[in-house]
Every structure is written in structure tokens, then in C-alpha cells.
């Protein structure tokens, strides 16, 4: 049977992902990543409505404190990503649903296997908080990203160092959202 390019046809009670074409699966991957990010935002909004901004930020930090290394390990296993250098770390980040390539506009500059620069040219979260004029939550979320990147880097290699080269707030809408350097430091 031919691969489904979408699900506009008849209902299939036992449908499986394998029934879809590669292109449809790629679209679904992007959508799942987008929904995962949106879900986090909806939770944050709900909690903000009930308890206020400060508590929403605290809870957001607590949510991501535990989930981060778990996700990386699963994606690495699914894609057989091996190694403990910056190249391996970048491969995982490219495929991580939290940094979905179709949602964020990212430039990956791998200078060598132990050194790379990641530039987020467009970030929907930064755009959202700019629109809401909510700099406080935006900076808290960028700080959360910083901690997350550090955690991910250490997950790959305890000697991997992450430096934020540029962070919001932006001076203009044409500016990049943020830029990060990942570097494997020689063992002291």
C-alpha cells in the first residue's frame, strides 16, 4: 500500500506511523516538537494566572531541572549518537525536540570536534516575550537555557564548557536571539 502523504482519507482504526510517507513523518516530528514547546508555555501561563509570575518562573525551573538529561539520553540512543565531544553534543541538540530545527533558525558552526558555536537566529520564545513586553520572564527563560546547555554539555563531557556569547534583550528585531560557544577544555 502506498505511503499516506496526510490523513485526509478514510479513518483507519489501526493506523501506525509506518503508514505515512517520510515527508508526512517529518512534518509530524516538527509538530510534536512545536506542541511540546507550546505545552510548556500553556502550563506556564496557567500557573501564572493562578499564582503569579514569580511562582510560574520557579515552577518552570523545577520542571526542567529533572527532565533534561533524560531526554538527551533517549534521543542519542534512538539515533545511535556516540562520542563525548562537541560534535556529538551538536548532533544531539540538532535532533532534540526542544531545539527543533524547523522551529528555530539555528546556524551550527563546528570549528572542530572540540569547539563549536551555535547561533539562534530566530527564537519564537524571545519573539513571544518581546511581544508581551515581559522581559523578566524572557531573561529567566534564557537563564534556564544557559543552565540547560551547561547540563547537556556536562552530560557529554565534564570538561565541556558553555559560554553565552550573546543573550537577549535584543536591540533590534533583526538581531540574532542568542549565541553560545561549546568548547572542550583540556583536562587540568
Amino acid at each position: 500500500m502506498a505511503d499516506l502523504v496526510d490523513y485526509s482519507g478514510e479513518f483507519r482504526p489501526n493506523i501506525k506511523y509506518q503508514d505515512f510517507s517520510k515527508e508526512a513523518l517529518a512534518r509530524l516530528l516538527t509538530q510534536y516538537a512545536r506542541l511540546g514547546l507550546a505545552l510548556d508555555g500553556w502550563w506556564q501561563n496557567t500557573v501564572m494566572e493562578k499564582y503569579g509570575k514569580d511562582e510560574a518562573i520557579k515552577l518552570e525551573l523545577a520542571v526542567w531541572d529533572r527532565g533534561i538529561p533524560y531526554e538527551q539520553a533517549r534521543v542519542m540512543k534512538a539515533l545511535n549518537i556516540q562520542g563525548n565531544d562537541v560534535a556529538a553534543c551538536f548532533k544531539e541538540l540538532q535532533m532534540d525536540p526542544q531545539l527543533c530545527m524547523e522551529i528555530f533558525d539555528i546556524t551550527w558552526d563546528l570549528k572542530n570536534n572540540n569547539h563549536g558555536i551555535l547561533t539562534v537566529n530566530r527564537c519564537p520564545a524571545v519573539e513571544h516575550f518581546e511581544k508581551q513586553a515581559d522581559t523578566k520572564t524572557m531573561l529567566a527563560m534564557c537563564d534556564l537555557d544557559f543552565r540547560a546547555f551547561e547540563k547537556i554539555a556536562r552530560f557529554f563531557n565534564p570538561n565541556m564548557k558553555v559560554t553565552a556569547l550573546k543573550l537577549p534583550p535584543r536591540k533590534s528585531k533583526d538581531d540574532m536571539a542568542c549565541q553560545w560557544e561549546f568548547k572542550l577544555e583540556p583536562k587540568m
Binding site: 509530524l28 516530528l29 510534536y32 511540546g36 505545552l39 500553556w42 496557567t46 493562578k50 548532533k91
Partner: protein, 309 residues
């Protein structure tokens, strides 16, 4: 270029999902589903730890009142699912990352495009709650699920009814987890004719974020009451007579209904709250367990009695 079966090779700064084989994309989709569920589970955990089980449940309902229709909207757009009936609702549920086939064993019986049944034969969440033994499945399956699933179904058709046929707790651990019926009815027969797509598609904050901490006023209670059907009002009146803790068995005995019908009727309470300008307010009725009972806000019980609502 041949499809990549994994990403063990060289780093590609321009990598795209389409570079990988179909089997690899399926594997990755399952991980993305898992990541989605982790976000869900972690918020629930953090709310329970920092606040309470009740707070986690209440926030779950509030969050899904916004998120449910939006998730359907994005899934249907991605897969070109033509929205409008029970068939489109079933298709979207099949593809929902929050309801993945790897964790649930679901049976879909679409009798015709406007009528169908879903049986969840295996539910990993229910299995976990049963093992835990605290009865968390009662408020989750009787408060969170009916209200949020009714809301999600309405995205497909504002005249759809999505009703629980069988819900936990179950006596036989090998039995089904739950069963639901979906049907399209004439507008005049729908218990909640107020649902508006435009309102559900927005994610803006409510007018006054400080409302959440305030008790319900008499005027607010009357406004919300106006959105409730006679069936929902009937359940509320019974609870109002014993607001400190009305037993589930007393409610169903007095009304001559089963627990599923009671939970279905109460589910509309949350949809009604979303229609008011104070959607961030806490629901006036809370489900408690051991024994299974309902507690109502004092202000609500007093107003229902005072005004003979």
C-alpha cells in the same frame, strides 16, 4: 544520497529530518512523544510537590481548557484532517502525542462519521495510579478527563457529545481502563451551546490576574450558574446541601444516575468557567478521595441556598 539509518556518522550542519530513513523517523517520533509526556508529567509532579494534588488537578483542567482545542487544531492542519465530525476527532486522537499508542492500547469503533466508541484497553497512567494506591485515578478520570475531553471534542463540532461510558476505578485489574462514546446531536439537545471556537483559539491572559485568589462573589456565581444545564445544576444542588463533603454514593443514589453520568454533568462546570471573564478562578467543587466525595466552596453553597438556585 541514501537515507541515514542513524546519526552515528559525521556532523552535518544542514541536517534535516528528511535525511533519515522512515524507520529512523518513526523511532524519533516515539522519542518526541515521550518528551511531550515528560513535560506533562513534570508540571504535574512539580505542582503536586510544591502545592498539592488538588492544585495539580485544578491546573491540569485549566491548562487543557486552552491547550486541548489548540493541539487538535495544529494536528489537523499538519495532517490535513478535515475537521467536522466524530471521524476527524478520532483521527486526531490517534495522532495525539499525549495519547501515544506505545503507552495506551486503544480500540476505535467508528460506527459512522457522526457516531463512535473509544475503548482504552490499557492505560499506563491508570496502572501507575493503581499501584500507588492513593486513589488519584478518581479525580483524574472523573474531573480532569471528562471536562477536558468534552472541550477537545467540541473543537471538531460544537454539537458533539463526548461522554464516558465506563471510568475507573475498576474492580478487575485486567479489565478495560475506560470507554467513551462520541456522537453529534442537534444543537437544541447539546448541554453546552455556548462553546465558541474564536475564544478557545486565543491564549491571552484573563482580564484580572488577581481574581484567582479571591472568593467567588454572588454576582459571579449567578453568571456562572447561567451557563450550567439543568443536569449540572442538579448535581450542584445535591452537593450544596452538604458542602463540606458530599459522598459520591449519596449523589448518584439521589439522582438515580451512575458515577460516569455524574462526572459528565460536572465536567461542564469547567467549560462554563472558561466562558466567564474570570477563567483563572478555582472551580467551586473539588473531588476528594478516601472516601470519594465532593467539597463545595462555602460562598457557593450559601448562594445556592439563599437564592434557591
Amino acid at each position: 544520497m541514501a537515507d541515514l539509518v542513524d546519526y552515528s556518522g559525521a556532523f552535518n550542519p544542514k541536517a534535516r529530518y528528511e535525511d533519515f530513513s522512515k524507520d529512523t523517523l518513526v523511532k524519533l517520533l516515539k522519542e518526541y512523544e515521550r518528551a511531550y509526556l515528560i513535560v506533562l508529567g513534570e508540571w504535574d509532579r512539580v505542582l503536586k510537590e510544591r502545592h498539592s494534588d488538588t492544585a495539580a488537578l485544578e491546573n491540569n483542567v485549566s491548562m487543557w481548557m486552552t491547550a486541548g482545542p489548540l493541539v487538535e487544531h495544529h494536528l489537523c492542519r499538519t495532517l490535513n484532517i478535515n475537521v467536522g465530525n466524530v471521524e476527524s476527532f478520532f483521527k486526531a486522537i490517534q495522532m495525539d502525542p499525549g495519547f501515544p499508542l506505545m503507552l495506551f492500547d486503544n480500540e476505535f469503533e467508528l460506527v459512522n462519521p457522526n457516531y463512535g466508541l473509544i475503548t482504552v484497553k490499557k492505560c499506563t497512567a491508570l496502572n501507575a495510579f493503581e499501584r500507588e494506591g492513593k486513589g488519584y485515578e478518581i479525580p483524574l478520570c472523573h474531573i480532569v478527563e471528562p471536562s477536558t475531553m468534552i472541550n477537545t471534542a467540541l473543537y471538531h463540532n460544537p454539537n458533539m457529545i463526548f461522554k464516558p461510558v465506563q471510568l475507573p476505578p475498576r474492580e478487575d485489574k485486567g479489565g478495560i481502563a475506560c470507554k467513551w462514546e462520541a456522537r453529534i446531536v442537534p444543537k437544541s439537545e447539546h448541554p453546552f451551546p455556548y462553546w465558541r471556537m474564536a475564544k478557545r483559539m486565543g491564549t491571552s491572559a484573563p482580564n484580572n490576574p488577581r481574581e484567582a485568589g479571591k472568593p467567588w462573589s454572588e454576582k459571579q456565581i449567578q453568571t456562572l450558574w447561567g451557563y450550567l444545564s439543568d443536569d449540572t445544576k442538579g448535581v450542584m444542588r445535591v452537593i450544596a446541601r452538604k458542602p463540606e463533603g458530599c459522598l459520591k454514593d449519596d449523589i448518584i443514589r439521589e439522582l438515580g444516575i451512575n458515577a460516569e453520568e455524574m462526572s459528565y454533568r460536572l465536567g461542564f462546570l469547567y467549560l462554563a468557567i472558561f466562558e466567564t471573564p474570570w477563567r483563572q478562578k478555582w472551580a467551586p467543587v473539588r473531588c476528594l478521595v478516601n472516601p470519594w466525595r465532593y467539597k463545595m466552596d462555602r460562598e457557593w453553597a450559601q448562594v445556592i441556598k439563599k437564592l434557591s438556585l
